[in-house]
Subunit: 237 residues, 2 copies
């Protein structure tokens, strides 16, 4: 079927629909400890991957692939790579923080029924890509958008996702046989969850607080609050 | 108020709520031409920024800032930077594609009531960040998640978003006075929309088709289909 050429009506969602979208955004968590052993069935997994596949991508490049890992052997190899890197990571923190750091669980690789590596094929659409001519990292960013789409869809499905980022990239490349032109962007642990923290776990555990939103907003240029914008730069809207 | 320590119940959303989340994911578009002139009021903009601020971030780093641009002068400077880069971009395509490329509208900088630059402050949580010890780009990826959260919330609000990526980073740094440790990650054009394409504009206009999802999925390791996974790597789940 040819995609339709004419734009379609596109107003705001109903209040209930808006609330559902915001509920997914606010109640999404980075899950490490709450995975149940209930398997993820194929139709559900495909819904999550289809949500990822509908992320925005620079030049409609769709640079992603999805390596779905259910094998205990592959998980064990990744867990081992994490373990090596995490021991190095602990040593990078000041002495007084190391015992706190080591007590924080940072992955659920083995416990999660499914692991998923979302990769970026940097050659997917040829050497010149619309929108990637001046900022070459845009295809990596598109791949991150796919991960975030999946994460929010998973929350709506009652499925938790945890992003693992403590590994040497070379280890993941070797374990998953990734070609040189393919970058592992997001390594995700995925499984049903019955409970979630009401706030990010690192906040709950006192590692770091949420910053006040108003402190993060500038008007017109870096460092300017709304009140400090020169009058000639303000518009009536 | 202290964040609650105990995990909260977290099952799947209702069918209606799930449908709303998927509707946002599937009907989100990269908008260039459909912005109306209706201003975005402050409470609405704050809801979008709050959605962005609730993105996942490595080590709960929250590395983002939001530079909200409404000034015609700043928009004109960014539009000029885009124009320079886009002329260079057109020349990178093979001769036979240049006229097609030049006919595609790739930004709505001036037409959109609000422009928003989401930046990443790479020093936000000190030199050693939980989860960023081995993959230093993770804070940039967190910032992309913030952009995608905002994009989906905006769709639910009836607001369109277009990501502009054709510029020399140095130009954006200069225009917005960004400090050296701050990276412009997403430059977004934002405005109410009454209509949207039913499929991505680059697909509608014949530039590139959506890839079949099934061709993008591997099992266990790169290049393996589900049927080609060695038996010893398959698990019963």
């Amino acid at each position: 079927m040819q995609p339709p050429i004419a734009p379609a009506l596109a107003g705001p969602f109903s209040c209930e629909e808006q609330a559902a979208v915001y509920r997914a955004i606010y109640s999404r968590r980075d899950v490490r400890s709450q995975f149940t052993q209930r398997p993820i069935d194929e139709p559900t997994l495909l819904r999550l991957l289809r949500a990822a596949h509908h992320a925005p991508s620079v030049g409609f490049m769709q640079p992603w692939n999805f390596v779905v890992i259910r094998s205990a052997q592959v998980k064990a190899e990744v867990k081992s790579a994490f373990g090596r890197a995490n021991a190095e990571a602990a040593a990078m923190f000041p002495q007084e923080l190391r015992s706190i750091y080591s007590a924080i669980k940072l992955e659920g690789i083995v416990e999660a029924p499914v692991n998923l590596c979302i990769t970026c094929d940097r050659s997917r659409a040829g050497p010149v890509v619309v929108g990637r001519t001046h900022n070459h990292e845009m295809d990596l960013y598109s791949t991150v958008c796919a991960a975030q789409n999946l994460w929010l869809a998973a929350r709506a499905e009652g499925i938790g996702v945890g992003w693992v980022s403590i590994y040497h990239e070379a280890d993941i490349r070797t374990i998953l046989n990734l070609p040189d032109h393919v970058v592992p962007v997001a390594y995700l642990c995925i499984g049903h969850v019955d409970e979630l923290y009401e706030a990010p776990e690192l906040e709950v555990k006192g590692w770091r607080n949420r910053l006040p939103l108003e402190d993060l907003i500038f008007a017109e240029r870096w460092g300017l609050g709304a009140a400090t914008v020169p009058a000639e730069e303000r518009t009536s809207s």
